[in-house]
């Protein structure tokens, strides 16, 4: 829906600050030696940021049409299929 009743400006600026802080956080976390968890931490922060953008800036949170949400979930499901099946194939091959 295009009609938002209350002023959402506070939310927008709050999300903006959070996204900037998370960017700083991910750069800082990259300088720590977390072993194999470096990638996990970086991707977790990236996913958190992406969810914030999708929910609040792309208005998925208040979206009245369930179809838009369904499209997003379906797209992510197919992306997951692509990545997970490719990686299971890659990881279980006997080549080297």
């Amino acid at each position: 829906m295009s009609a938002h009743t209350s002023s959402p400006l506070k939310t927008y600026f709050g999300i903006w600050i959070t996204l900037l802080v998370c960017t700083g956080l991910t750069v800082w976390a990259a300088s720590l030696d977390l072993g194999r968890f470096n990638a996990a931490v970086a991707l977790t922060i990236a996913t958190f940021k992406a969810i914030l953008v999708a929910l609040f800036f792309m208005h998925l949170k208040g979206a009245s049409e369930k179809l838009a949400k369904l499209v997003v979930i379906a797209s992510l499901f197919f992306l997951l299929l692509l990545l997970v099946l490719s990686m299971t194939d890659f990881a279980t091959r006997t080549w080297s």
Partner: protein, 231 residues
């Protein structure tokens, strides 16, 4: 007179094959989300390629990733996040008929988007200067693998990293250029006073596209720049 024609008289932006503005807006929104779904799969193939090669050439890719300029990458991330804020403010301004704020935010988005491309251009220039562009002049000699100071990265494996770096950031930059084109169009429409609280779908849809391109960068930045930063 049928109802639809009456409504059309009230809202000139309502196309004749829609019953009411809300239906028209929901159709546009669904179409945009489906398009973004195809874009997720489009970039998904590249992210999958990244994952496979990343596992395969782990150390070589770490060495190649370490040569990227994190400061410029982080600056560009911040620039894009700021542009997402101006976009969401533009959508809000269009919905609340604040024309000056709308035009101001659209212009700010254009400035930030162009700044992003400029910084990207500086980075590409550095890659050419360092001979890190895949091709005949590519050179990646004697760069140690992170965690293994006694081993040098395999240049042909590093070349694949840079090939993917240029394809992914290049495709993203192409999306930015398209986005800037869209926002120039939106600015012109806003200038002509086309948008109102009843009709602002183009701003909203352009915004969805812009935020999506932002999300792609939110993933590209850590994957390309950050993953092997640690000592």
């Amino acid at each position: 007179m049928p109802d639809s024609q009456l409504t059309a008289a009230h809202n000139p932006a309502l196309l004749h094959h829609f019953a009411e503005p809300e239906q028209q807006r929901d159709a546009a929104s669904l179409g945009m989300w489906v398009f973004l779904g195809t874009e997720i799969m489009f970039f998904g193939g590249l992210f999958c390629t990244y994952l496979v090669y990343r596992r395969w050439y782990f150390g070589d890719w770490g060495a190649a990733s370490k040569t990227l300029d994190v400061t410029l990458g982080a600056t560009n991330t911040a620039v894009l996040i700021c542009s997402s804020l101006t976009v969401v403010l533009a959508v809000w301004a269009a919905q609340t008929s604040r024309r000056k704020l709308l035009i101001g935010n659209l212009l700010a988005t254009l400035v930030l988007g162009t700044a992003f491309l400029g910084i990207k251009g500086i980075e590409y220039k550095q890659k050419f200067d360092e001979h890190h562009v895949p091709g005949a002049s590519f050179s990646f000699e004697k760069i140690p693998i992170p965690g293994h100071p006694d081993q040098y990265a395999n240049p042909s494996h590093a070349e694949i990293f840079f090939a993917l770096y240029f394809v992914m950031t290049g495709l993203h930059a192409l999306h930015m250029i398209v986005g800037i084109g869209i926002f120039v169009g939106l600015t012109v429409m806003a200038w002509k006073g086309r948008f109102s609280p009843e009709y602002n779908t183009p701003v909203e849809m352009g915004g969805l596209y812009w935020h999506f391109v932002d999300i792609i960068w939110i993933y590209l930045f850590p994957l390309l720049y950050l993953i092997d930063r640690h000592p």
